[in-house]
């Protein structure tokens, strides 16, 4: 059963308050008001000022929920602009109606990161002393200008934006997370992919000394993931360096991870050391382990069932009742065109 955005209850209206206000044409006025009552002035991080204009939607976006739907989980969330509270407090102000942010506590203590342990509650403790600095990321393969970046260069070079995204795990639970990061496209443009490059391959650090889970030979470490080049270039796809206005903690994939919000969480590879442009579809770790369960695409799709977990519904962490899972995790309008003509049942 397909759920149209128009059939979704107001709780599932994915539109940020700011965009809503813009739609009503009162943003200028309210910004003044906010400035007047804001506890602090211009204390928001540099990132937030750049993103107020960076959204994929024009300021004139309709305020009607049914049509504005996909802005959802809202690609670029204005960080309440430069006039609001400091960074640490601001994420609370950009909640999507009906979809509150998952608490920082839960986001940082309930993690699937098998490099440490398969116990979600145990990752944070085991990852506590993980050294995420110094850290370099080698970007190469089929590119004109292969480069190696220090993590601090990436943070400086690319404007950091806050993006509030839904994260849907293939196991049937989900979160709403305010990420900090920058579009992967910006980095890829920098290295100039060659015309033969069709895919991007990501590799997590291999460090069994620091990552006890990697001593388990059951899994073919290191963790590999991949995207098709057009997926990688989509504006929703970001490399994240932080969340909740802070640098990433090790359990969330410090210092650099991928976030692809319309795909199951396992595609969003953590603690990246290597990014290669390639001409063949990369084989991910999960594809190698269970090819009939995990495909290359792994798009969130309530209609493609999984042998174990319900993909028709999900539990939002912190909530009791299940939510219906949306096609492409609610980002269909931004990404569905990437898959025109493809059988998504076969390309799961």
């Amino acid at each position: 059963m397909r759920i149209k955005s128009s059939e979704i209850t107001p709780e599932h209206v994915y539109i940020s308050r700011r965009k809503f206000m813009k739609g009503l044409g009162i943003s200028a006025a309210s910004a003044l008001l906010l400035a007047a009552c804001g506890p602090q002035q211009s204390s928001a991080p540099a990132s937030s000022s750049s993103q107020a204009t960076a959204g994929p939607t024009a300021p004139t976006a309709s305020a009607a929920p049914a049509t504005a739907g996909p802005v959802a989980g809202a690609a670029v969330q204005a960080n309440a602009g430069a006039t609001s509270a400091p960074a640490t407090a601001s994420p609370k102000k950009v909640e999507v109606p009906g979809e509150p942010l998952t608490s920082f506590e839960d986001v940082t203590n309930f993690n699937n990161f098998y490099e440490f342990t398969t116990n979600k509650e145990g990752v944070a403790r085991l990852a506590k002393d993980f050294k995420a600095a110094p850290w370099t990321v080698a970007v190469g393969g089929m590119v004109s200008k292969p480069m190696t970046f220090g993590i601090e260069d990436l943070v400086k070079k690319f404007a950091q934006e806050e993006r509030v995204y839904r994260m849907r795990c293939v196991e049937g639970w989900s979160m709403v997370i305010p990420w900090l990061g920058f579009p992967l496209a910006a980095l890829l443009k920098e290295v100039e992919p060659l015309s033969g490059a069709k895919y991007v391959r990501f590799e997590t650090v291999l460090d069994p000394m620091q990552m006890p889970g990697q001593r388990d030979k059951m899994y073919p470490w290191p963790y590999i993931e991949g995207l098709r080049l057009d997926e990688a270039m989509n504006d929703l796809t970001i490399l994240s360096t932080g969340l909740y206005g802070k640098s990433l903690l090790p359990q969330n994939g410090a210092p650099l991870r991928l976030v692809v919000p319309w795909k199951y969480g396992f595609k969003s590879v953590k603690s990246i050391v290597k990014i290669d442009l390639v001409d063949k579809e990369p084989k991910s770790l999960w594809m190698a382990l269970s090819p009939d369960e995990y495909g290359f695409y792994a798009n969130v799709n309530p209609e493609v069932s999984h042998p174990r977990w319900s993909q028709a519904s999900e539990r939002r962490i912190g909530e009791t009742a299940r939510r219906r899972t949306l096609p492409f995790n609610g980002y269909a309008e931004q990404v569905a065109q990437l898959y025109t003509g493809m059988d998504l049942r076969k390309n799961y």
Partner: protein, 233 residues
């Protein structure tokens, strides 16, 4: 109060006088063992409730409750299946009396597991439940195992034992099939690492193998010889 104590003390004295051994009488030891069995079986439930009250069930509490009740159900089912071999191999006759409570506790945890899944997790949503139970092979075998345990729990009373006579034993051998189905349920449930469910499976396989007549006879013979050697020494 004091009268009662005196009389009880007198009874105990009389007992001690009448028997040479200072150890509690066999009957008493059996009762203590029974109490321990009940306490052991109820401890996981108490811990679960305690963790629930202290909001200590992870960020995904419903799933945690599902996992924990499922694990306890499996553990108790294995323990109840271990009673007969305990008697066959080690001659622990009292273990036979633990079968019924252990089996019933296994059923209790399985019922909690099932209710957590259907009510807490899926809110009895018919569409989602149909998909979750009937379109997922792991859920279907788990559900079947649970259904098999229902008649066993109902007919666990002495009255039903009498009423069913010889058929009672046959009926209760369904527990073996339930045990195997639960292992399949678990194997199909895990992501890639099948080591833990296979370990439980190995335990059940051994416990069932000991019941096979030729194996049982061999075990009994071995035990007889071992006992004879012990006595000879």
């Amino acid at each position: 109060m004091s009268v009662a104590r005196t009389s009880r003390g007198a009874q105990a004295e009389a007992r001690n006088n009448s028997r040479v051994r200072v150890r509690p009488a066999p009957r008493r030891r059996e009762q203590i063992a029974q109490v321990i069995v009940h306490l052991l079986a109820l401890t996981p439930l108490a811990l679960l409730v305690l963790d629930g009250l202290r909001d200590n069930l992870t960020a995904n509490p419903i799933q945690t409750i599902t996992f924990r009740t499922g694990k306890f159900a499996l553990a108790l089912l294995v323990l109840s299946l271990a009673c007969t071999p305990l008697n066959t191999v080690f001659g622990v006759r009292t273990a036979l009396k633990w079968r019924r409570p252990l089996g019933l506790y296994a059923f209790m945890y399985a019922a909690l597991h099932f209710l957590t899944f259907t009510v807490l997790d899926y809110g009895l949503d018919p569409v989602l439940l149909r998909e979750a139970i009937f379109e997922k092979r792991y859920a279907l075998v788990g559900f079947t195992a649970f259904l098999l345990l229902v008649p066993l729990a109902i007919t666990s009373t002495r009255g039903w034992m009498k009423r069913l006579g010889k058929r009672w034993k046959r009926l209760h051998q369904l527990a073996y099939i339930a045990g195997l189905l639960v292992i399949v349920h678990y194997v199909w449930l895990v992501k890639a690492d099948r080591r833990e469910p296979l370990l439980w499976g190995a335990a059940i396989a051994i416990l069932l193998a000991i019941r096979l007549p030729p194996v049982r006879r061999a075990v009994v013979k071995l035990r007889g010889r071992a006992l004879a050697r012990l006595e000879a020494n």
